[in-house]
Structures are given as C-alpha cells and as structure tokens.
C-alpha cells in the first residue's frame, strides 16, 4: 500500500495539473477535482497507513492502544471533501453561466478584463 498510494497520488496531481493547463475551462474544473482527490489521498497516506486496526479503546482502558490508525486524518479528509463539494458545485455553475454569456469555453478568448 505504501508503495501504491504515492504513485496514485503523483499520477492524480500530474493528470490534474495537465488538465488545468488546457484551454477549455471544463477541463480546468476536472483538473481541480483530480488534484483534490490526490490531496485527500495524500493526507490519508501521510498520517500513516495501518491495516485492520481501528482506533477503538477497549472497555476499561483509558488510552488508545499503540499502533492503531490515526483517526484525525479521515476527519480532515471528510471536511475537505465537503468543502470541495461546495466549491466544485459553485465552479460548475460559474462555468455554465460563463459559457452561456460568452459562447465559448476557450480560456484564451477571455481577455477583455486583462486589457
């Protein structure tokens, strides 16, 4: 697992950045999504991958036994997923509105505010 996840994360970042460099802004959104997934996996991995040891405290015990999964990382990821859901929903609406207004999805044609 420790070998596979970094490869997947790297692939997601690379693919996401590649998509963001494209001229179409639909691909920009897809790229953002891919990087977001990569980031979530990265948090998951960097907190340490432990198999089959959920962070449960035995009845009677007061502290977590050593070697269990870190429960904080999934909590962070859940928050990040909720946030990215909201952000992506907004971005989709923005992209649709912009396409309706401009009649193009080519980023290179959106230069009126830069002049």
């Amino acid at each position: 697992m420790e070998l596979i996840t970094p490869l997947v994360i790297g692939l997601l970042y690379a693919a996401g950045l590649y998509m963001m460099m494209r001229r179409s802004f639909v691909k920009l959104v897809i790229g953002l999504l891919m990087i977001g997934h990569g980031t979530n996996l990265l948090i998951f991995t960097s907190a340490g991958l432990v198999r089959g040891k959920p962070p449960l405290i035995d009845p009677g015990a007061k502290v977590l036994p050593a070697g269990t999964t870190d429960p904080l990382a999934p909590a962070l990821i859940l928050t990040a997923i909720v946030i990215s859901f909201a952000v992506v929903s907004y971005t989709m609406v923005l992209v649709k509105r912009t396409y309706q207004e401009l009649g193009t999805d080519d980023l290179a044609e959106m230069r009126t505010t830069d002049r």
Partner: protein, 569 residues
C-alpha cells in the same frame, strides 16, 4: 473574555444567517447588516484594547485543551487585524446601502458580505492550521459569489481566473497541511512551532524547509505576491465598487497576515534561507505593483496594481526580520547573547516587523478608501478610464480633497499614515544591512508618488476632455436601478480619511502597538504561553532558548532600547 475572542467570528456569521432568513425584506436586512457591522467593530476594538493591556487571549473550542482541540487565539496582531475587519465592515456596508443597485443588494449581498467578514476574522483568530484552511474556503466561496453577483460578462471572466488560481492555491495549502501533519503530527500552531523548534535531524529540517516553501506559495497566491499575482488585476475591478473595496481592503491582507504568522510562529527552521527568499519576493512585488499601475489606464485597474505593491512592503519587513533574527541567533551562538551586534540585529528585526504590522494596518484603511472613491468617480462620470474623464477638482472639490488624504498617504508623504511604517521598514532594513531591498523600496515609493500624482492630474486636475464620437467606455459599469445616495457614499470615505489622518498624526501610540505586536511574534514565549500554558513554557525552556523573555506580557527590552535611542516617531 472567552466570548469576546470569538465574537468577531460569531457576530457576522449570525448576521449573515439572519439576513438569509429575511431574504425578501431588504430594509430589515440593511438595518441588521449595519447593526452587525457596528457590533463587530465595537467587539473587536474592545478585544484589541483588552489584549494590548493583558496579553494574548485564547478560547478553546468545546473546552478541549490546546493541542487536541481547536484554539482561537487573539494576540496583538490578530486583534489589530479583526479591528480593521470591523472598520472595513462598517464603511463598506454604509457605502453599499448608498450605492449598490437594488438587484444585487436583494440577491444576498448583505448575507454574503458578512459571511466573508466572518471568515476573515476566523482566519485572523484561528490557532489551528486546518481551521485556517476551513476559514480560507469560507472566505473564498463567499468572495466568489460576491464577485459574480450580477453576472456581467467582465465579472464572469474575472471570476474564472480568480476562482482557478485561488482554488489551486487552496489545494497547495491542503497538500502542505497533509505533509506537515505527517511529519509533525499536530495541527495546533503553537504546538507545531515547538515541535519544529525541537527538530534536530537534518533531513527532517530540510523537509520542513521545503514544506515551508509550499506554504509560501499558497499564501503568496492569496496575498498576490510577486510571481502569483495575476488573478488580482484580472478580477478586482469587475464587481461593483463596494465589493471591490471590501476585497481590496481585506482579502490579500489575510494572505499577508498568514505569511507573517506562519514564518514567525510556526516555521523557524533555516531562517537564513527563507528570509532572503521572502525579501526577494517582496522587492519584485513592489516593483511589479508600481510598474503595473503606471502602465494602466483605468482608475480601478491602477488601484488594483496598487493593492499588489504594498504587499511587497509588508513582506519586506517580514523577510528582513527573519533574516536578521537568523543572523542574530547564529552570532549569539558564537559570541554570546548580550553582545552589541546581536542586540542591534534583534532591534532591526523588531523595527522591520513592526513596520510590516503598521503598514498592514495603514494599508487596509487607505486601500478600502481609494476603491470607495473610485466608485464615486465611476458614479459621477459613468467611466473610470483616466484619459476620458477629468475636471473633478472643479466640479467636486470636496471629493478631490478626500482623495488627496489616502492617496498621499499611500505614496508615503510625511506626517500621513503611510510615512511612518515606511520609515520603520527602511530603518530596520538599513540596520539589518539589507541594502538591496531597501533600495528597491525607495525606488518603488518614488514611483508610487508618480502613480498617485498621475491619478490626481488625470482624474481631478485636467479639464474634462471632449468625448470622441463612437467612443465608449470599455470598463463602464451598469450601476442602474437606484440613484445613489450621496451622503451614504461620502460618509464612509470621510470617515476612513479621518482614520488615516488620525493614524498619521497619532503615530506614536500606534507605532508602540505595532512594535509590541512585532515583539510578540519574534519571541515564541507569549504566544506559546497563551495557547499551551505553563506546559508550553516548560517545553520552550527544555529547548534552550534562554535569550527570549519568558513573561506572559511582552517585557520589551527592545522596545525600551528604541525609546532610549529616540527611534520612536
């Protein structure tokens, strides 16, 4: 005290929620919004006064003790920043009621503006890195909607660029957070700071320095610092003036604040490398900002570039302070902590960082005001392109006078508010022997005068040019709907100008405050004690940082030095 620390977050979020539930009732929303803004200002100023008197105040969310729960920390810098959020809130809400078109105002402006204010306060007060990320996202989402409110073509185009780059920067921030948690195993800023100080393995330190560069990139995008500023001039001039003013005053400053916070409290490794990097970024930011402003023709685009330039000055103080501290630490190891050179470098660091804090404080007021004034010009002329308008000095002398105060302050004319922080920055830079960045700062200041005088000459002094047949104003803005209410637009401008004058004329106490805030940041003890209590101080002692004062209040040997040498403006 506990409630007071989180009140700058709770009051606006409550106002936003109430405004949401009263969707169709604009009049009630306006009253609520104004009351909320005034309450925010009152609470945050009270917080500032108390924090300045008693030292940093902390609220632990849910009563969970510090490294485990989420802390909200109001030290002097945070309290200064939330007070300015309150000030901006009052000014912009009054102005928006007087100027914003009916359609935009009834489509949730008040709710969104307060959501954004709450997120800004949250980011300033958060003592937990992940919490900062959450506030950043809340701030971004509300600013996205504010930016596109009304859905005009320019706004949508600007928004795509703004959204794409800011989301990328958030993702970089989250990536850096994930790696940081993996290495350090904590999210509380004070706790991370202590753990990073105790890192001794060279490979860990190298990794942490690389990681700090990820944070630098991410916050650099938010602050619109040199290589990452492109989204700002592409978007800030597109929404209605009230919204631009809110953005210009607060949003990039959150990034600048986070840079100051992260590189003083959290990352203290390899300061000899990080400091000069920030200083170079700062120098280039100043130059790009001012040269960009000289090349532009539309008033609000000129001002957009003038949002970028000052970020350079703020970062300059940070870079100089970090470099000087690193050199002082290195010298103290060989020569001893009490040697004159070491003390001189520490004084220089405090001067430069104090200059940054003062600049931050002055710039929020001035920048908000200049965008508000640009909005009035836009209402009067229907256009803000400088070669198509003119003659405002003759027709609106009061407006011209009100423009002079923030504009000359921005340029840094003596006795106005922009002069003092620049003086401190330059003195600190010279004392720390950072001659390159000081030279760039002086050149940039000189060119800023040119930008300001050009605005004055083109917009106010010269006669109104004859309109050319078939010529239209490309960046015109449809402010239709309701004729604007002049007093409601002039009152916040006059108020902010008065604040600028007060800061300039009463610079002594403000400088004292900025200096105390800088001392809090340069010594780990006050912040650590506030968040982690005695346990934090014990851990700090175990690390062996004996030259740092251990008291809760900033005992200020450096401050005293300054008074003795007469550096006090």
């Amino acid at each position: 005290m506990n409630f007071l620390v989180v009140s700058p977050i709770l009051i606006p979020i409550l106002t936003a929620m109430l405004c949401m539930t009263l969707w169709g009732r604009l009049r009630v929303q306006r009253v609520l919004s104004l009351v909320g803004a005034v309450a925010l200002l009152a609470c945050s100023v009270t917080l500032l006064v108390l924090v300045d008197r008693n030292g940093a105040a902390v609220s632990q969310a849910g009563g969970w003790a510090a490294p485990f729960g989420i802390s909200f920390v109001a030290d002097r810098l945070s309290a200064i920043m939330v007070s300015l959020v309150g000030l901006c809130a009052v000014a912009v809400i009054v102005y928006a009621i007087g100027s914003l078109d009916h359609r935009r105002e009834s489509m949730g402006f008040h709710a969104l503006a307060h959501a954004m204010l709450s997120a800004c306060s949250g980011a300033f007060l958060a003592g937990d890195m992940f919490n900062v990320y959450v506030w950043f996202e809340v701030m971004l989402l509300s600013s996205f909607v504010l930016l596109t409110l009304g859905g005009e073509r320019g706004q949508l185009e600007g928004a795509i660029k703004y959204v794409a780059l800011n989301l990328l920067s958030s993702t970089i921030f989250l990536t850096a957070l994930g790696i940081l948690y993996g290495i350090v195993g904590s999210l509380n800023m004070a706790d991370i700071g202590l753990r990073i100080r105790s890192a001794s393995d060279p490979s860990d330190i190298a990794m942490l320095t690389a990681l700090s560069m990820l944070f630098l990139t991410s916050f650099g995008v938010k602050a619109a610092a040199f290589p990452f500023f492109f989204w700002l001039p592409a978007s800030y001039h597109t929404p209605p003036p009230a919204i631009s003013a809110l953005f210009a005053g607060l949003l990039t400053k959150v990034g600048a604040y986070m840079l100051i916070r992260v590189f003083t409290v959290v990352f203290t490794t390899d300061q000899g490398i990080v400091g000069p990097t920030i200083a170079v970024m700062a120098a280039l930011t100043m130059l790009v900002g001012v040269l960009g402003a000289l090349a532009q023709k539309e008033m609000r685009r000129i001002l957009s570039f003038m949002v970028i330039g000052p970020i350079g000055f703020i970062l300059m103080g940070l870079g100089v302070a970090i470099t000087a501290t690193a050199r002082a630490d290195a010298l103290a190891e060989t020569l001893g902590a009490g040697v004159g050179e070491v003390l001189a470098l520490r004084t220089a660091a405090a001067l430069a960082l104090g200059g940054s804090v003062f600049y931050l404080l002055h710039d929020i007021v001035v920048k908000t005001n200049l965008f508000l004034i640009a909005g009035v010009v836009l209402k009067i002329k229907g256009c803000a392109e400088v070669d198509k308008i003119g003659g405002l000095y003759r027709s609106h002398p009061k407006l011209a006078l009100l423009f002079m105060i923030p504009a000359l302050s921005l340029a840094g004319f003596p006795i106005l508010s922009g002069f003092w922080p620049k003086l401190a920055l330059v003195r600190g830079g010279l004392q720390a022997e950072a001659f390159g960045v000081v030279a760039v700062a002086l050149v940039a200041s000189l060119l800023t005068i040119l930008v300001v005088l050009r605005l004055w000459a083109e917009v106010f002094w010269k006669n109104q040019p004859e309109p050319v047949q078939g010529d239209f104003c490309a960046m015109g803005f449809s402010g239709a709907g309701r004729p604007f209410r002049k007093p409601l637009m002039y009152a916040p401008i006059a108020g902010l100008a008065a604040v600028t004058l007060t800061i300039g004329l009463g610079a002594g106490p403000i400088w004292g405050l900025a200096q105390r805030a800088a001392n809090d940041l340069l010594h780990p003890a006050p912040y650590t004690y506030a968040v982690l209590g005695d346990e934090g101080l014990e851990r700090l002692d175990a690390l062996g940082v004996p030259e740092h004062p251990r008291t809760r209040l900033t005992s200020a040997p450096i401050d005293a030095d300054l008074h003795a040498e007469g550096h006090h403006p």
